[in-house]
Symmetry: C2
């Protein structure tokens, strides 16, 4: 049955002339209610649309192997997810590209490595030796060329350019400051990563073995060479401090992955958002599970929105879900502690599927879920009910309205066929631009609106050190998965997130490992499936 | 005309049994959609309701006259506005109460003050002299007694206790840490205020003349005595640092009112929120104007919500508003620069009403509005139209959906009489508890929901250094004014914010000066009225 639409609401949508002196209002003020999110100043966009002349260079500072890449990738992923045009400008890559066909600039400096092996090193430690003036000059030039590239990109539609380099001396940073001061409306934020935790540094150094500089070089030679390179940097390293403070330069210093943070002169909106995000991160091992609620009666009736209860099948899913998670969680944490014993945090796979999907569904008690686990649902009945079978455990279940489904305004509770019939123009607009188009009616939302209200859920997920099961909805799951899997915002509204599927996201040094599990109603088991199911039909 | 309500929506509200196996779901899971905000984990409440066992002591650290009180009051106002039970426990007040009837503990130490006058000082600098062991012991005892009071209060319904004292030595802080470690589930956050800006310190010292310690003492004597007291503190001051860091104690160090910030080991949700708030403050002189949109056609029809356009009267208000602000803003900034020349930032009144309300409404061009001014509206037509007459200037106009009116869900566009008829139970519930009760229908909001979505508007208002005119709605204006005027959250939903009224909030060292102006449609002038109009009818 097609619901009756309150009669006066559509008419106010069309702005009846009423008593308005239309001649006094120009067309700009008569904006349609059914608006594009990006035409608004909605939260973040306050800066990004009207203040689109504000452009930001984030220049990294720090010794090699101090986690700069971790921060750069995380920040890029977060800002991209928010719909900001962000790009990483890596100086090391440019150096390698520029010099790959040239003779290495060794300047006669000998390193104490095996010569045969070191000759394979694109830029051996002698290239980074402070007495090698030719190489130093080349490195300076490359760094500034990359900054020029970044500024050129910002003059187009770029918004945040990340200058990914060590920028470890005041002289270098002075050049960066002077270059940016030549530009109107380009802001600068330095982000420094300092790490004095030996085991973190060691694990970062291990990862350097995979650097293109060491392709085909035996690990021991590469490690020795890298330690020499590090020594050259350490000898002349000047951390952010008085020089920048006296010039009122914005900076953020992250010490040991956020256990200590120093913010200086932060005054921009985007800079404040970036630093708030970075101050809320941690490295605890945990799993972020993302699933939709069990099937609801509205799912059967093919109605969107609303606040229906679960169907019988939905209740079955809820039961199986509690069982699956209460097997998966202990398996994950025992796997983590084994990995720690083996001291192989990087190479060990965290794929637990074989351990957890085929167990007898009744044999693991919920009590195995410990204090490291929480469930977050939306405020809507179907997600609250999906968490029902966890209630016998002591698991904390939290409800957030930020996890509610994309609000379809006047179309709540309708079928797509009804929307097409009642709001043909709106339907067509949304089909063309699903990301930005809001549903008709006050507070009707677009995907971009959902991104913005999920921003603080993401920051909270980054802050806490527990595993979380997020039971939410189709659009919300798409949006969350886009963040964790670094999927472009344009694809976000089209991801395929079927009912009865759990995505397990495991934070790793360079992104998240993601595993997908599909519930089989016949066996009540969850079987691992390829996560590329997300892109089916796109 | 009473709008027809979509037939299936109310039925889903009542959770039709459908195919659910009701026996499998206990009553807890069948929560009504028309819920109380405080029963949810909505954003901040995630910590405050379910995690209500989490209690926080914020212990201040810093020399006298370094802006601790400024921070304490601001933080208390913000947290109270969020609905958190917060209380300041001031050690100086307790010291004065405890010792007011006793002989001063001077221990024979002589100060070099005028004896007649200094004898009036409740606790002269000799009381704070480090060699005065009896007094030192008394001060330590008082500080710990006040902490005991705070912890006792937290064991009741208190949530955040602010220990307002200098806590300037490691020995004192060690005692605080040890005392709090005895309690289960009480967290500790140190907030230190450091200031090395001489003019800021001087202006803070000037304010100390109004301390109860110096009642009836001539200013020069008081100042000399206070400087001696300060010297005693400076001699043994130990800033937050290695001691706290090695013990993983959470701290936030604010240097020169947030121009530099050091965060260490911050890991709690509330602690992260507090520090994010405090890192976004500034001392720039500016005015935050708060007004509702001009009269809309729905106002005439007495319908709530919706998205109507302005009435003829509403258009007139928009015109007059542009004129008023373009007179008030330049007057404010010229007043500020005069005050600076006179070096009397504290005593000078910022009441500009006589200068700005009686000018000829056409004689000041909008161009007088400079880069120090922005307008923020909601996404709704009536607020966007109210900003219309600023368009001829270069003023930046931003639209935020966070400023939209409290969303009345299924009641959007209805008259109160209709709501009472169609949703009698909901209407009664809301009448009883207007703060927490949500309107029926998906995404229907309560005042507490509005507080939470305005949280980031408040932080953005604290961050930027410009004047802002907020053109929004009844509930939103009530909520914003509660923040700026430190009005209790219980009164918030009942404040009287009539159409055609502008509230001008001017940040001051200890809160905001607020002026109210009422538009007179006859003369087109804005006349200053008593701001107590807000409490009419409460």
């Amino acid at each position: 049955m097609i619901p009756a639409v309150p009669q006066h609401t559509p008419s106010t949508l069309l702005h009846p002339p009423g008593t308005i002196q239309a001649s006094e209002l120009n067309n700009h003020s008569l904006e349609p209610c059914f608006s594009k999110a990006r035409n608004s100043f909605d939260y973040l966009e306050g800066l990004l649309t009207a203040d689109s002349h504000v452009k930001l260079v984030v220049a990294m500072v720090g010794l090699p192997a101090r986690g700069k890449s971790y921060i750069v990738k995380k920040l890029k992923r977060y800002l991209s997810w928010l719909g900001i045009h962000v790009k990483i400008f890596n100086v090391g890559n440019k150096r390698r590209v520029l010099t790959s066909t040239e003779t290495p600039v060794t300047n006669g400096v000998q390193s104490n490595q095996n010569k045969d092996s070191s000759s394979k090193i694109l830029h051996s430690s002698s290239f980074f030796d402070n007495s090698n003036e030719a190489a130093a000059s080349l490195r300076e030039n490359v760094a500034m060329e990359v900054l020029d590239d970044a500024i050129l990109w910002l003059k187009g539609d770029g918004q945040v350019a990340i200058h990914d380099a060590t920028n470890s001396t005041i002289l270098r940073r002075k050049k960066i400051i002077n270059r940016i001061m030549k530009e109107q409306n380009v802001s600068l934020l330095f982000i420094e990563s300092i790490c004095d935790n030996p085991s973190l540094i060691d694990s970062n150094i291990q990862m350097k073995l995979f650097s293109p500089d060491y392709t085909g070089v035996d690990p021991e030679t590469a490690l020795n060479d890298f330690r020499l390179r590090l020594k050259s940097y350490e000898d002349c390293y000047e951390p952010l401090g008085d020089y920048e403070e006296s010039r009122k330069i914005q900076y953020c210093k992250l010490i040991n992955v956020g256990s200590k943070i120093i913010l200086s002169n932060i005054n921009g909106f985007l800079e404040s958002q970036c630093t708030f995000y970075l101050t809320n991160m941690n490295l605890y091992p945990r799993v972020i599970y993302i699933t939709r609620h069990g099937q609801s009666t509205d799912n059967i009736a093919k109605r969107i929105g609303g606040n229906a209860s679960l169907s019988e099948l939905g209740v079955e899913y809820s039961k199986a879900l509690a069982n699956f998670i209460s097997n998966h969680q202990p398996a994950f944490y025992s796997h983590v502690s084994e990995s720690k014993l083996k001291s192989s945090p990087i190479s060990s796979s965290l794929n637990l599927s074989s351990q957890v999907t085929n167990g007898d569904i009744q044999d693991k008690p919920l009590e195995l879920l410990n204090n490291n686990f929480e469930i977050w649902t939306s405020m809507l009945t179907r997600t609250v009910e999906t968490a029902h079978f966890f209630r016998s455990s002591n698991v904390k279940i939290k409800k957030y309205s930020a996890l509610n489904e994309l609000y379809s305004g006047l179309c709540e509770g309708m079928k797509y066929s009804e929307i097409k019939e009642l709001f043909p123009t709106d339907f067509a607009t949304r089909t063309k631009d699903k990301l930005q188009t809001r549903y008709p009616g006050t507070n009707g939302e677009s995907y971009l609106d959902v991104v913005h209200r999920l921003q603080h859920i993401i920051i909270e997920l980054e802050r806490i050190n527990k595993s979380v099961l997020l039971i939410s909805h189709n659009a919300v799951s798409r949006t969350l998965l886009s963040y964790f899997m670094d999927i472009s915002i344009e694809k976000m509204p089209f991801l395929n997130v079927p009912l009865g599927t759990v995505f397990a996201c495991i934070p790793r040094p360079f992104g998240n490992d993601v595993f997908a599990y599909k519930w089989d109603p016949e066996t009540q088991c969850f079987n691992e499936i390829d996560k590329s199911i997300l892109f089916e039909g796109i």
